[in-house]
Symmetry: D2
Subunit: 367 residues, 4 copies
């Protein structure tokens, strides 16, 4: 069902923005994985609100609790239940929005689908829902670390029209975490922060692009034909709120090249199959090639504005309103750990699938 | 598993390019749907090779047979099995490729995943695999037609750097089918055909962009949080060979707008909830809004070139080779019905999910 | 994955006997269902330990909390998260069992599967796990009640060799709930209670048989070929701890009849299709016939004995031990609400499947 | 969906009794498995009609064809498509049954579910559907053989009231295949054949019980909590037509023992963890213990009789009719390979699940 993701390493989430809390069940995590609550919390801390001047001022500790599946710091092989209580809710900030459809939000479409909706903070459509994903993603990250040592990294590549030109090969976690906007290019980061601050002041909002890469991935991950690595990532990343565009490798720029210009001839590099340019972005036929997987994901500007807007009420009457509450003027900085989490969920799942794809591997496992 | 797609209306496919044939099982199609073999064949005819000078000269009748699930032209509610025998295979054209990894193809990655591979025509990684999807998509199309009357349309929007500026609202099926390249802009179509012909002559290839839209879709389709309409389409469309980028609504252009410029205020249009500009592309919070769903999907240039290339053999020795065989210099024209099929598979599935999303709808069904 | 059950109305559970708590996510419950916490609690109260002299003396309030998916007593269509904190744990009662494999328990097999295990109270293999199922089953019960008004009832039919001969058609909930052993036959109930008390005193245990029936089910539920109603119930009921045998209709007795004796000719009864004897148990070809669905489920005697037993340690050394802790000398009385819950989960799921099985029903839903 | 079975090794089937053919897709079979068409055919030959005087006289070659997923006798890791054309159909034998509901068949319930039905030979409800399962089961058998060398064996244990007392430990494949009824007890087999012949002559039918066992299974197979080995087998075996009762280990007889009599203390036997009696039937907590898995499955007598019966027409009018066509007077002999196939499908699937259940096994696979 639609609150589950994954086939082998499967997460199922619950939670509304203004309900008692959020939660997730991770099913299919193998027994014997060392899992430290602090490591999960660390990822949640990167996502939590109130981190800086350019994120929402909502204060949530986002303290995750493990309710099952782990004993003495090691996974049991049983389902892992985790919850994150909601704390700093100001539901009455939404009282005036109860009967109207906020523009470019999911109010109207939830109403159309379900016949009713939780109007408080967007309910299940809130970005808050992603906290549960980040908790689960931290487990996936640990699994990948234990099994293949791959490294997933995301960063803010563009905010509005401000775009860093740093090539993905040079970008490090330290650079990304060095500033509030999570852009590895320090100079550009400053400009982005200024732009976000300006938008915030104006009651306006900005969109942007998150870049991502995975290094150290073995060749062979991705399951033809419907669960190709790019297809799985396509579902995973477009399931995030506010996403508008996703590209792998050169993305849409690939269209401007001829085949003779875009093809990546295979070569040996340090005894390993590689290509000179890796234009494909580390995926061929939907399966990882062992080279760096990279791409980019575009987010629209935040729909909540602190200026007057017109819209319709639930009774289809025109109305003018202004949002109160606390919101990110730009979701990009907090989107970074969420994008990483979704990528890691896909990779953990596909690593399981890869294990089973060949008889020799299964034989070795059972030997 | 990875050869299945869909949760309620589920298709499972099989088949290699040079094996005996391709096939699909459609599971979950409701009983009572009128289903005419000719309607399915019509979609396959749009996809089949050898249609024109700018597609591959491989000749495949692609005659689909229905083996189950339909009696007297009506679906039984049981699983629908269909096969499409392979006919015009020249497997020996691949003999010289048996032991090498073609650049930008899936030879190397299949080998890495499975430890062996069908080298003939790409095996399962061949674009030929999509014939089974088109057959299934035709059933989905019929279901949508019977239930909601929505219209899915795709077209070639860009080939190399040649791009039509026709707005999606003006594009019709007749325009799309009026020329060999399936670009609704007749003038641009001519230029595209010339460009593809030129690339073909040069043994080179081109990529491009397929635009798509769905009109007449009800509001409420798409299942939060992991099966949002955009997420399902993300998986569906990125599961197609050679895809590199996917955008919904304004796509990456949304990033350049501020929230105040991008937001779509709700208005009434002919008594129906609408927006002035529908910048969101007909989806809010991952759920259809009742406005036109639109977006675009970029394909890289065909990997097979008819010129000398360098690569590695399976023993990791450098080698020079030249492809023979028959291939599309540009996959875009034949991709159009495939994109439509994948969209229709998602929509049929989400229509089922929508039916169950609200107690009142179920009550009405059972009354 | 294996902690999820259901295709349309899907539950996913977590929790170990001696961890912080148990929980469940119900995914796919339609929006608009009235759901009262007290109704869920009522089912848990029927399952909870410490109800009577013949159940375990472990005291658990088993207070369920709803964390999401419900607002103002109505389901939102989003996933419903529920938790039941663990309270009365005496984990040190298991210290002496940490390194041995209790006979006829899952200690050894969990170790074989996972390479480690939670030795405290059986961990995930504990019957305590079923509390989460009962909470989910209460939601399913509510859905069935809202949609079709069917009534699922289970009862204790046999304990050891003591067996009631009451025909299922006469059994009522009031009779079942009238005594501690949940046998509708008051006289037999007394004998059963005496037998259980005697076994308890002797440090021994008893098995038994739960009978079940569903009245008021429409014809047409059950999904050929792998999800026939009996197949789904087969999985659901054999997923319960300690189950050994399951029969539908006449069960194994059907074997002793000839076809001419076993066949149920169709007749009209009060204008409705029926049969004189309903030997089939309300299911034909795996699909409900509209007559009463009935069957029986056998449980082995509880594995925990309060007398000395021999076994092996984890190091494969012979050892003698005696259990302490608190356990049911006979699981049957508390199994009754669990069996009902599992049946209701299947029925709710198949009701959704039924809704989608026919085009006309979907049309009516969407009209 | 309901025509698929399995989570890791998944089969999806199609086909009606009187349509063009039956088929199956096996998805998730690892690459590198040697797979010989003759081995698959051999299992189908055991199931096919017309084998002896006591089975139906319908003649079907049941020649299976492999359409994909195998090259040069080795699996490719891609989906394996197989079809079995229908040949000896006499659909007009069903013309007089078109408008009536045969007693104890699925005519009425299919009509209730789907609003229409294929009346010819039972359509999808026909036992013929199981041919596709047997083809898939042969692949599972090959996989089990390559990986763990376990042996699944089924046999006819009871026909009507005739029951062999041979203990399962003594039964061999040679004994089972030595006579037409597939009862390993030669003397009892003769009596069973006589009884079936007598029933056939009388236009009547018999039911019976199939015994089954799996030897050589490793400990650790079965996925708590909903996919316990017994639960998966419960679904698999109750998905077979005409099944009424299923027991594991001592089955319902376990109820008559006290815990102190039923418990299986662990001992060492030839250095391996074992029990003196294996009353549990090789499964503890739903996970295989490494001892022989055994149980029994009861089938009702065949519903088709060659004598006059009364029933209702589709218009709910009373009617008298007599079946023509060709049918098994007792399905048991042909059920034996089908039961084995279903067990092997479960075991192959759970072997995959087992591979992923522990981090160390995955590490070994990836090393």
């Amino acid at each position: 069902m639609s609150n589950s993701f994954g086939r082998f390493f499967r997460v199922t989430t619950f939670g509304e923005s203004h309900g008692p809390g959020l939660g997730v069940i991770v099913d299919g995590c193998p027994a014997g994985l060392k899992l430290d609550l602090a490591e999960i919390q660390q990822e949640l801390d990167r996502r939590k609100p109130g981190q800086s001047q350019i994120t929402t001022s909502r204060k949530e500790a986002d303290q995750v609790q493990i309710l099952s599946g782990v004993m003495d710091g090691v996974t049991l092989g049983t389902s892992i239940g985790m919850i994150i209580p909601n704390e700093d809710q100001k539901s009455n900030a939404y009282d005036n929005l109860k009967d109207l459809f906020r523009p470019s939000h999911a109010d109207y479409t939830y109403q159309a689908r379900y016949g009713l909706r939780d109007h408080r903070g967007g309910g299940r459509a809130s970005n808050r829902e992603t906290a549960a994903r980040v908790a689960a993603g931290a487990v996936a990250k640990k699994l990948l670390s234990a099994l293949v040592g791959s490294q997933t990294l995301a960063w803010v590549q563009q905010v509005g029209s401000l775009k860093t030109k740093m090539p993905h090969g040079q970008i490090t976690l330290a650079q990304v975490e060095a500033n509030a906007v999570r852009c590895p290019d320090a100079e550009m980061a400053e400009a982005m922060i200024a732009a976000i601050t300006q938008a915030k002041t104006a009651g306006d909002s900005l969109g942007g692009v998150v870049g991502f890469k995975v290094e150290g991935l073995p060749a062979g991950l991705g399951s033809p034909v419907f669960d190709k690595l790019t297809a799985r990532l396509g579902q995973a990343l477009f399931s995030l709120p506010a996403t508008r565009s996703l590209g792998f490798g050169l993305g849409e720029q690939a269209v401007l090249l001829k085949g003779s210009e875009h093809n990546d001839p295979f070569i040996l590099r340090q005894g390993k199959v590689a290509t000179p340019e890796n234009r494909a972005g580390g995926v061929l036929g939907g399966i990882s090639s062992g080279e760096t997987l990279y791409g980019h994901l575009a987010f629209k500007p935040t729909a909540t504005l602190f200026r007057e807007q017109t819209t319709l009420t639930q009774d289809l009457q025109p109305v003018t309103f202004q949002a109160s509450g606390r919101h990110d003027p730009c979701v990009l900085p907090r989107a970074v750990p969420i994008v990483e989490a979704m990528i890691n969920l896909v990779l953990a799942d596909e690593l399981m699938s890869f294990t089973l794809a060949n008889l020799d591997r299964i034989k070795k496992a059972l030997a």
